[in-house]
Symmetry: none
């Protein structure tokens, strides 16, 4: 069971609009067990729309098209579909009434352009759009279902969820799909792949493994496929557990959550609070932590000590340490940790100081050199890293490794607590 | 001159990753005068990669492929390209040395998988990647240039900018394109369009205007096209100046820079320093300001006072103010401004306190209510906003409007300084 998504519009091709419609459809179709074979973005011209129909009709089970259904002159999809399917536009009284009501409710006058939206191809099944004036259209030919939807994301999503999911389930014989996520932090993709190579090569055909890496994080996704929900879920989780066992403490979650959310959950479990002393990351760690709704339960605040004067005066870093060892040093980060724990009065703290670049590097401490420290409840750890990337990426890596180090410390403390309890 | 972008990876098709690479490439190619005809995302299999090569090779001037070049077993692109172009992988000593150095610098051990990254197709031109271990590859056949790039966005972007722009200019006969950016902050797109409607409708065919809105910012881009650099640049700037005159103080730059960079330049011109007191933005304003290399010249640091205890103890906000007016109030933001100016000792400060959501809203102060204040050199301004969006968007808007308010204040102070000087 394979599908193709075609998104129509010059604004997608020239990068003015990031195409989120096809990401949505890819995700939703996967949940139904429909594999997206290809997605393609094309210009809103008769020539290109016709070319894409020619390419895919009869060669895939399902095509979803989005866009090109607006009331303006530059929207050509409906006309092209009519001519491709050898049919003509006919007046649809139900759709007309709906549009009329919609305008009346808002106290707006209906124009001729809006009236045109009620003319739809005679041979299609109309898929109602209760959020806008452009209806969806369902065609069938050569063993392919073609659904054409408006490009406005919330209209498209609403039609998909309210009308299409059930129609697809009925029309196609769909398999059961189960996804299982294994989230790891602080290790590279290659190292990880080496660790689980044996397991990966023994995976059966109906269970697939994907590596989804981002700075500091590798997300593993196991996808199982079959006929019975329970059986598939069981089969996937058996393989997932083997991988989790092999990876041990590198795993921070077995669901698709961010590292900052995982850190937040651990702080809640420990009934502990957190503060930060950020230098080169400039506020980015605070931003990540406060992305999580409810983070105010454990995150009290932080000091961004970008200038040494702030390190000295707010965090109490000894000027002698700064002059002897420099701002980017283990000693400074140790003093920042002690300072912020004392100042804000939290259970745990993170401190970061480094050379983000492009300037400021030395032979001893080139651009990308970052000291990251975590401290709390009797343990303090400081680690030197060199990320050797550009400014933005060094900041991103520093932030993720800081969260990683805290996560590891919190896991150890949670384990201790459980042993006691 | 037409191009096709092919992005490779199941994570794009199943919606796990939103494909921002092709939006970036569409935008960048348009700036060079290369029109993106189609973009397509396919699965990382020999069959699909080969099928897309078969479809586009010889039928377009340029194909850019991204993704599928990682060191793991599921990355098939390099092998497929070898077999398609009838060549074989050969050891590249330069690339090997680079990878080896990279690992040595980080104190990491190189694995056999990493070593494989130095094997590249014999007939391609290697396009160096200084940000990672997967090199770019340039092939030519049947009148089509095919460039294969890694899928990691920052690696891909870096290779594009540092290596490909110049190669494309040389290889293809590209028309002269001149872009002129007019950056505005704090006003909406519709209002802006009304102001410049007359000018817009008089634009000649070889000068095009694009509106590129993002939270708090509308970027206008005028694009001229022709044969002679100087003539095109002149023609575009004449129209740009008309628009700038009409928009007056809403314009913060006439080049494509961020609002935080514009703020930084003004602080440098005023020889002034900045500190922040962030509550609901959680560090995001600090992150934005420190994205700019050299920001340490004016940004000293900040206090993220997420919890009221930090507002009281570090910023000296009177507990009576917090209990009478609440943390989200003009009075609290005024006290945060005074507190941080005094604590860090800067010329200017920003303070923000609001309800980011989803929880915490009240009838008086629903989710999205944010007080933003700026203060410095004798002026203090506080404004109430309601952005009424979800958490992430409220934080983004709050940050951009805070930078906007500071920018306006700095502009007024710069004007005063010039009048005096």
């Amino acid at each position: 069971m394979q599908a193709v998504v075609i998104t129509i519009g010059d604004e997608i091709l020239n990068g003015t609009t990031v195409d989120t419609n096809s990401a949505f459809l890819g995700k939703e179709l996967a949940l139904l067990g429909i594999q997206l074979r290809e997605k393609v973005s094309i210009s809103d011209t008769d020539h290109h729309i016709r070319g894409s129909l020619h390419r895919y009709m009869g060669h895939t089970d399902l095509i979803i098209m989005t866009g090109g259904l607006g009331p303006t002159l530059d929207d050509k999809t409906k006309q092209t579909l009519c001519s491709y399917f050898n049919t003509e536009l006919v007046f649809n009284a139900t759709v007309f009434k709906f549009i009329e009501n919609r305008f009346a409710q808002r106290g707006l006058k209906m124009t001729e352009r809006n009236r045109q939206q009620a003319f739809l191809p005679a041979t299609c099944t109309v898929v109602p759009n209760t959020m806008g004036t452009a209806s969806g259209m369902w065609f069938e030919r050569d063993g392919t279902v073609l659904v054409s939807l408006p490009g406005v994301p919330y209209e498209m999503k609403h039609i998909y969820r309210s009308e299409l999911v059930e129609r697809f389930r009925k029309h196609f014989a769909l398999p059961v799909i189960e996804n299982y996520y294994i989230m790891t932090s602080g290790i590279g993709e290659s190292w990880l792949a080496d660790q689980i190579e044996e397991i990966e090569t023994s995976l059966p055909l109906d269970v697939r493994l994907a590596y989804l890496p981002s700075p500091g994080i590798v997300k593993l996704r196991l996808t199982g496929r079959g006929n019975e929900q329970k059986k598939v879920a069981m089969r996937v989780s058996v393989w997932a557990q083997q991988i989790e066992l092999r990876l041990g403490s590198h795993v921070f979650a077995n669901e698709n959550i961010s590292l900052q959310e995982a850190v937040g959950r651990r702080l809640l479990a420990l009934q502990a609070t957190l503060s930060l002393a950020e230098s080169c990351t400039g506020g980015n760690i605070g931003r990540l932590i406060t992305q999580i709704p409810g983070s105010s339960a454990y995150f009290l605040g932080s000091v961004i000590s970008y200038d040494n004067s702030v390190k000295e005066r707010l965090l109490g870093v000894d000027p002698d340490i700064l002059s002897t060892h420099g701002a980017v040093s283990e000693e400074t980060v140790a003093a920042m940790l002690d300072g912020v724990l004392d100042l804000i009065g939290t259970d745990y703290a993170i401190a970061v100081s480094g050379v983000a670049g492009p300037g400021g590097g030395t032979e001893d401490k080139p651009v990308g050199t970052v000291y990251i420290g975590v401290s709390g409840r009797g343990t303090r750890r400081i680690q030197r890293y060199n990320f050797a990337q550009d400014r933005a990426v060094n900041i991103e890596y520093s932030s993720m490794y800081a969260l990683h180090m805290l996560r590891v410390l919190l896991d150890e403390h949670l384990e201790k607590q459980e042993l006691k309890g």
